[in-house]
């Protein structure tokens, strides 16, 4: 109206489509280039592995090259060995993760709500946690049998702690104003928990779950090292004894893939659950 300038942009064009699209900005790369880079890095890693094995002349007995491992992986899958044992281990991982995460969250929620419970209980939690699972695994086998149950429980005890520790800190990280808001409206402890503390704890809980899911892979394997008749951990022992390094690495690759997929799943869920915060997004704002 009082402007001395004219616009160089034709009026009336659609504006909605220009609404910011964050991802491209986030990385500074187009999705296509990004994918290319990821593949390039993968190729580089594999090449470096092959090169290291060749150049350093590492014995294939302990550190086989990628080709041998891929061959072993193929053989293991073709023979049905890996798939058979995979299901056992996957079940242990998922069941153990679920049980441990739930226990960690529930106990964490209790301790997070009460300083008294913390003073009284936390030392025992830490004590229980510092006991090496390998040392007490036989006890678990004793109590819960040779089947998958004992492995599920060993896994759960490992997953438990990161979820617990993060839940406690997370529940306490809620800002004072929001707690005050709840108190002003006569909220009970449960309301404060559900409406304020829990949402604030969620990024922590999911970070704990992320740590937990990775530990659960290790947990199931360690559980299988003691008294298992099936599972990938059992297969590792077997192949270690028969000095099949490539075969063992093939299983480690399978474990890694399980870990990567489960990790991605946790992040995927986190992103959807914690839609209001940026903690699990791909850094939608530059810095």
């Amino acid at each position: 109206m009082a402007d001395t300038l004219t616009s160089s942009v034709p009026p009336g064009a659609a504006v909605a489509e220009a609404a910011e699209t964050a991802p491209a900005r986030a990385t500074g790369l187009t999705p296509m280039r990004r994918r290319v880079l990821i593949v390039a890095v993968f190729v580089a890693v594999v090449a470096a592995w092959q090169l290291a094995v060749t150049a350093l002349d590492v014995s294939h007995l302990i550190f086989p090259g990628p080709l041998a491992v891929v061959q072993a992986l193929y053989d293991g899958i073709a023979s049905g060995d890996i798939p058979t044992h995979l299901w056992v281990t996957l079940y242990e991982i998922l069941a153990g993760f679920a049980a441990g995460a739930l226990a960690g969250f529930v106990l964490g929620a209790l301790i997070g709500q009460s300083a008294l419970l913390e003073a009284v209980l936390y030392p025992y939690v830490v004590a229980f946690q510092t006991v090496p699972k390998v040392a007490v695994a036989p006890l678990f086998v004793l109590w819960f049998g040779f089947g998958t149950t004992s492995k599920v429980i060993i896994t759960a005890t490992i997953v438990f702690f990161p979820v617990l520790a993060n839940t406690i800190v997370g529940l306490r990280s809620a800002p004072r104003e929001q707690i005050d808001l709840m108190r002003a409206f006569t909220a009970s402890g449960w309301h404060v928990f559900r409406m304020v503390r829990l949402p604030h704890a969620l990024p922590y809980v999911f970070a704990g779950l992320d740590i937990g899911i990775v530990l659960s892979v290790i947990g199931a394997i360690v559980g299988e090292f003691v008294g298992a008749q099936a599972g990938l951990g059992y297969l590792i022992l077997q192949r270690n004894f028969s000095m099949d390094a490539a075969g063992m690495f093939a299983i480690l690759i399978v474990l890694s893939l399980i870990g990567i997929v489960l990790h991605a799943a946790v992040r995927w869920i986190a992103r959807r659950v914690i839609f209001w915060a940026d903690a699990f997004t791909d850094l939608s704002r530059g810095s």
Binding site: D180, T186, S188, W276
Partner: protein, 265 residues
């Protein structure tokens, strides 16, 4: 323990010799409130004015059960005040919305906490959102609202349970003149309808006079009540009152007390 001069009606709330001292992280003590006395009748509308940092919010937070007095008495409905009460609605100085709840659900927070009937609460929430001019924003999230819009959500939230005591800390601070005037009028209507006792902190002296049955004037460091002005203006109050001489007299009287020289507000 008791008043030597009994007030006509049992007070809605009462401060007796109230002191509040904050211990600061840098070691020093800050006296936020010093020997504050006053009581407020049921159904009364009191407004509080005073310079920034004089203890207005602290006073309100003590009444809301969010701070404890260092010394002295606070009574609510004739009983020693302990914690918060279901009949109190609070508007905070900053909006304090929950980012994971949409606007409607934010307004419903107090109703949910107090387990009120859901359908009726939603009805009221929509009503008050309309009142504050936010119809159509029910499903938006707080981060998608402007500062003033967020503040209005906070107002609707305080009203949703139809509280008997309404505590408002600069509720219209981020609002433009027009919206503010609408809000003022609506607030007076609300008081008329529900008979609620209202304490409203503002930094606008005209607003304090326009709304208040009494205006509490405070001075800073340490925060004290320096003046309590009974506003004797006709009721129901309308906006043309503002141009009357009596209104002007009240405003300039308080302004003088606050040592303010001119008047932009």
């Amino acid at each position: 323990m008791s008043a030597t001069l009994a007030p006509e009606a049992p007070p809605a709330f009462r401060f007796g010799g109230l002191h509040k001292t904050f211990r600061s992280k840098d070691g020093g003590d800050v006296v936020a409130l010093h020997d504050v006395h006053f009581s407020v009748r049921r159904g009364e509308f009191v407004t509080v004015v005073g310079p920034s940092g004089c203890g207005k919010s602290t006073l309100l937070r003590i009444l809301a059960g969010l701070e404890r007095a260092s010394r002295g008495q606070v009574e609510l409905g004739g009983r020693p005040h302990a914690g918060s009460s279901r009949d109190v609605g609070v508007v905070f100085q900053s909006p304090v919305l929950l980012p994971w709840r949409n606007i409607l659900d934010n307004v419903l927070v107090p109703a949910e906490i107090q387990g009120r009937d859901r359908a009726a609460a939603r009805e009221r929430a929509r009503h008050y959102l309309q009142l504050v001019g936010l119809s159509g924003f029910e499903t938006k999230y707080p981060s998608e609202l402007s500062g003033g819009m967020q503040q209005r959500v906070g107002i609707a939230r305080a009203l949703v349970n139809d509280p008997l005591l309404l505590l408002m800390d600069e509720p219209f601070g981020a609002l433009d003149a027009m919206t503010r005037e609408t809000m003022n009028t609506e607030l007076l209507k609300l008081r008329e309808r529900t008979g609620a006792t209202i304490m409203l902190v503002t930094h606008s002296i005209p607003e304090a006079v326009f709304l208040g049955d009494r205006v509490i004037v405070m001075s800073p460091r340490p925060g004290r009540v320096t003046q309590v002005v009974e506003v004797d203006l006709p009721s129901p109050r309308t906006l043309d009152l503002i141009n009357t001489e009596r209104f002007g007299t009240y405003v300039s009287g308080i302004r003088a007390n606050l040592h303010a020289s001119g008047g932009l507000d």
